[in-house]
Symmetry: none
Subunit: 194 residues, 4 copies
Amino acid sequence: MKPPNAARRSQRSHRAILEAAYELALDRGPAKVTIDAIAARAGVGKQTIYRWWPSKGALLLDVLIDAVGAVSEMPDTGDVVADLTTQMTAVTDLFRSDFARFYTGLIAEAQADDAVARGLAEQLADRAEGPRRQRLEKAQRDGQIRADVDIAAAVEALYAPLYYRMLLRTAPLSVDHVHAVIDATIKGLRPNPV
Amino acid sequence: MKPPNAARRSQRSHRAILEAAYELALDRGPAKVTIDAIAARAGVGKQTIYRWWPSKGALLLDVLIDAVGAVSEMPDTGDVVADLTTQMTAVTDLFRSDFARFYTGLIAEAQADDAVARGLAEQLADRAEGPRRQRLEKAQRDGQIRADVDIAAAVEALYAPLYYRMLLRTAPLSVDHVHAVIDATIKGLRPNPV
Amino acid sequence: MKPPNAARRSQRSHRAILEAAYELALDRGPAKVTIDAIAARAGVGKQTIYRWWPSKGALLLDVLIDAVGAVSEMPDTGDVVADLTTQMTAVTDLFRSDFARFYTGLIAEAQADDAVARGLAEQLADRAEGPRRQRLEKAQRDGQIRADVDIAAAVEALYAPLYYRMLLRTAPLSVDHVHAVIDATIKGLRPNPV
Amino acid sequence: MKPPNAARRSQRSHRAILEAAYELALDRGPAKVTIDAIAARAGVGKQTIYRWWPSKGALLLDVLIDAVGAVSEMPDTGDVVADLTTQMTAVTDLFRSDFARFYTGLIAEAQADDAVARGLAEQLADRAEGPRRQRLEKAQRDGQIRADVDIAAAVEALYAPLYYRMLLRTAPLSVDHVHAVIDATIKGLRPNPV
DNA sequence: GCTTAAACGAGACGGTACGTCCGGTCTTGTC
DNA sequence: GACAAGACCGGACGTACCGTCTCGTTTAAGC
């Protein structure tokens, strides 16, 4: 009795809800989007939203997946440093766009809603971290990355600073910042052996 | 005429509010704390809260400052790697404690409230990043850290992964994680020369 | 779009609200009845009250209409003085009962709320003054009342003193008072001719 | 310890409060006057109001006494019907002026505040009904009013309709209304004996 | 004329109720 | 049976006033 029959789901309503939620989230921030407003803009009954999503966060997560798709493809020119620079710059641009508001809002939602947190972590691991790790693992096999380095830690040392600045706003994101992080991480912090 | 006379502020109420907010935030999460509940638990009129804080986030920020105090002191044994290990392990422990729930909730609040975002960034820059940078700068002067490295980027490469895991929960925080991040960052990702 | 769809109104809630309001008004006086208390006692959301009534006074007016029904029937024994005595005594009894508190409270409300004033005046004109005038007009046709007397003024001369004492409390309402007013008004104040 | 020393009372504040209350009551209705607003407009601390008056109603009652003074003097030309016509017309004019709003508001206040009700009844009995009864008693002695009529009832039959229309607004006050009431009451309702 | 206790202005305080907003559920037709 | 519409209960919001309670500051009485 709980799960409704997905086969009878109205595709028209489904799409209208995702689009309404996305538009509202962009223009007032996800925290200020209400289910009422989404339903009204989508021309949909509130029950239809509650029928298919357990919470506002879950809906926003679907909106994210729907809107973003496969954003994080890693280039592979053979030069891992160049590729990281390219891709981290792209991420920085994304994190400075209107989309950031949506993304940070969703992360905020995840702090109070475990289902959203799990979905978001999974999404992040699969779509974002996965390709990054694979690229670094390839570079490791190519001898461009030290063989005994922990790949997960390496990805985080490179990318976490971008999320950190987006979320905590201690300093602005910039291309210079990308270069500085790559320089520090690739070359390492200890003095160059002579 | 707008700002109330701070000299007449009731210290008793002020403390009771901070304590009530802290206790409530710990036991149900900051997002579910209501001004009504804080006022009731503190034995205070709601107006007294609204008189002195512009938003729930601003109050929680004060609670953070009040509750945490000087948490982030950097040790200085002369060995920067040992000191980073010590301190990052302490931060990891903090980020795995009940306090994390409070902290992430406040960061969530900051995503929808610019004043909180600013206050939090300032707090973070002054109390957390400051000592970390100073320790690395000293290590730089001591020759333990490469002279041309960007200190801000270095601090982020080391610490941002801790915030990243606390907030995004892609993987658990652990002592091993701390070691992996330090190894990757200190030694760097490129193959050891020689 | 503003007025809600009356067809979908919950009869259960409607009745519960009227009854809760009536009980609360009787036991603490209409001025001290709050919308919060009515909603709580009726087991109803406050919005449901605000959806259907524009003000507390409007609700109390509906309560009056609901509670009183057809109180003011005029008897007709053929003897207009006897009938007036009977009916004014009944009104006096009503104005000395607990109901008076409710009624005076509603009249008080009307002094600050024009909609209530209009509703109350209409109610009074239709349900109370109407039958009284009709009885006097019949008596006029029967030759028991002087043909050239202004019926509206006559009704007021007889009944206004009852409202006056209920509201201003310069002296108590009583059967003797009824007799005195009827005597003064029916026989008139000027000396008996002859 | 309770009653403050009246000798030290500030006349300046006393007057300012009465005036502020009167002005505010006229321009927004007594029900919407707040102690806060009176204090602010009078340039007076709220405590000063609470020190000298037990309730808003009590203050408004003093305002009434202060503002109205001896309004209800009865003329005495020797012709009681002419005198009643003159004076009831004056009362009607007063009840149609801005003052009516103030007066009805105070009567409304009295319905929920016994002290105000008592004060108002006393005021009414002394200042308004007293002179009216005395005039009718004189007329009785002069043979213009039937000897066995109840004077209190007679005064009410004449004047209560004016209060009734002011408070209940079933019909407008007017000179014609005054004439009709006087005609009905003086001549009486029963047919003229032939 | 000096002292001192009161009454005063200002306004912060603990509370209560306001009228609004929204979350999540339930109900009533329609398709 | 999923849907659009929207009424419903509940509960938090931020505001307005209540009546009480400090705070200094006049101010007028009595020494």
